[in-house]
Symmetry: C2
């Protein structure tokens, strides 16, 4: 036994392995240090800040935190792509807004649709089918559709530094959850493969499902056009309670929609880590919110008011430009 341990310590590879940087795509700085310090403080036996393994919950927003959210949320793009299919089944929608605008294909006009219009489109295009059918179709779209700026599948537009944080936390006994304003059913389609996060660890905006029987008497769950959980803003801590039932020890977000989740996380006892991704890298990704001085009236982004709250409450801001060595796995 002593021999084996000694061999491991003396072996250059063993030593290197033990010392390997768990966050190689991060530059050294306050953000990286905050993550490493937090993990050591909460997982080192004997420290007053130690957290038992069963309570190690980490929550991650998705859009803008784990993958690109510009120029539109990926799920919205999927909903827009499904409009022609929907109109084929229900031709009367062709002359009704917002479907009429979507059918013109005029990108500028589509970009101007309100959040309410977009929600109407998602509700119409992503319900009324069985869960099995939804999963198959969404998976096909995710596997085959490419983003226009990078000509890559959307699942390749995940942030490599954040994938490293997910792995690092899991390697230290944390259960990682996605807590997203996006559709729970949509994110579940690819999250296990892309993030290593199983369906039961996805909290998202959730519509109702109805248990029915098909014509062969086989049970079927059908997606209903009703809203069970709007997992944005206050809906995030409410959704965390519904699905997880424990307060996270760390949470990552990037917009006003994550504010309450970060407040709720930070208000817990012991050491808690709240982090905000700041999109300030127009060259490698995008720059918006405080990085460009956009007005706070712009919904769903990292506003100046959120920036002030972060500073006041000790949330750590991640600068994509300064803290991330590379953004995507495909960058060399």
């Amino acid at each position: 036994m002593i021999c084996t341990v000694a061999a491991l310590l003396l072996s250059p590879l063993g030593w290197l392995g033990a010392q390997a940087d768990p966050l190689p795509s991060w530059n050294d700085g306050a953000a990286k240090k905050a993550i490493v310090d937090f993990v050591q403080a909460t997982t080192t036996q004997g420290r007053p800040t130690f957290v038992p393994a069963a309570e190690r919950v980490a929550a991650f927003d998705q859009d803008g935190t784990l993958w690109v959210e510009q120029p539109m949320y990926t799920q919205v793009l999927y909903g827009l792509d499904r409009v022609p299919v929907l109109v084929k089944a229900r031709p009367e929608l062709a002359s009704v807004e917002p479907f009429k605008t979507v059918l013109t294909g005029n990108r500028e006009a589509i970009a101007k649709l309100s959040m309410k219009d977009l929600e109407k489109i998602l509700m119409a295009t992503l319900t009324g089918m069985s869960i099995d059918q939804f999963q198959a179709e969404a998976k096909h779209w995710i596997d085959t559709t490419k983003n226009s700026r990078w000509s890559r599948r959307y699942t390749e537009l995940t942030y490599q530094p954040m994938l490293e944080v997910l792995k690092y936390l899991r390697a230290n006994g944390y259960k990682t959850f996605i807590v997203t304003g996006g559709g729970q059913d949509f994110v579940r389609v690819y999250a296990e493969e892309v993030y290593g996060i199983p369906p039961e660890q996805i909290v998202g905006t959730a519509g109702g499902v109805k248990y029915e029987y098909d014509k062969n008497g086989k049970p079927v769950l059908t997606k209903e056009p009703t809203l069970l959980l709007n997992d944005n803003d206050a809906g995030k801590p409410e959704g965390i309670h519904l699905v997880i039932g424990r307060r996270p020890y760390t949470a990552f977000g990037n917009s006003t929609g994550d504010r309450q989740m970060l407040e709720y996380t930070k208000a817990g006892s012991g050491i808690r880590l709240a982090m905000l991704v700041l999109h300030d890298d127009a060259k490698r990704e995008y720059a918006y919110g405080p990085a460009r001085g956009l007005p706070d009236s712009k919904v769903g982004t990292f506003t100046q008011a959120l920036y002030e709250e972060a500073k006041k409450n000790g949330w750590v801001v991640i600068s994509m430009k300064d803290d991330w060595k590379r953004i995507f796995a495909f960058e060399k």
Copy 2:
């Protein structure tokens, strides 16, 4: 290496350990065999029925399946116990039904209250407080209140054979979930300690919670008198989809409220195991449902119709009298 394995095989303790019965409180019979066969079929590498570890989901009803549900659901008893506290805060309820009847303490009259009345009592007594306050009070009640028949805490009235099934499944890579008509928040208070099941693996009837700030500006989740999920009947597969997002490979229930969950489980591909606990042991526990020929109109029990469906669909019935060597851990 060879030496070590040989030593293990030759050691009487090592050998015994490998051969130890994972279900010692079960008599040999069709029910026990069905469980062991299912686990071997789904966890033995190379078999066509093998299930990858990530997909191993097992769902358990609680009342009547994991612990005693007679003469009333434990959570209903808790709600009844809280009525005097509620009336102290809102004296006008003293003269309003069903609270008036509860305050008389007349057990016979209380036993005759309808399910609707009981739901009204639970909604009134278990909401309007913060999650933290609810958890502290429910924990105190669970830790200190004793069942009258056995003079034991309710958490001691869990079925030892089922605790063994939970452990056996987990030892074989299954994630065990409770899927209960009982309150999700209530069951979470003791499930980790009693069943080894963490809060994020409890699916139950769930009321809304509201994210607010207390007078010090600290975030608080308050229990609202609204219903998000009625986790009974069709609500069980719907709740499984909402919280788990995967179809279970095995499910255990004991009443008509579990019918849809068992149907949904059994309708999946590959090998699926659906089991029903039959309460047919009046001496050691209770006998009701088909065991006593009670009419099917009696809600929430194992009806004759359910018994027929079980036989038709290959669900395995567990006879408490014949299949269980002992029922409670405190029995010698």
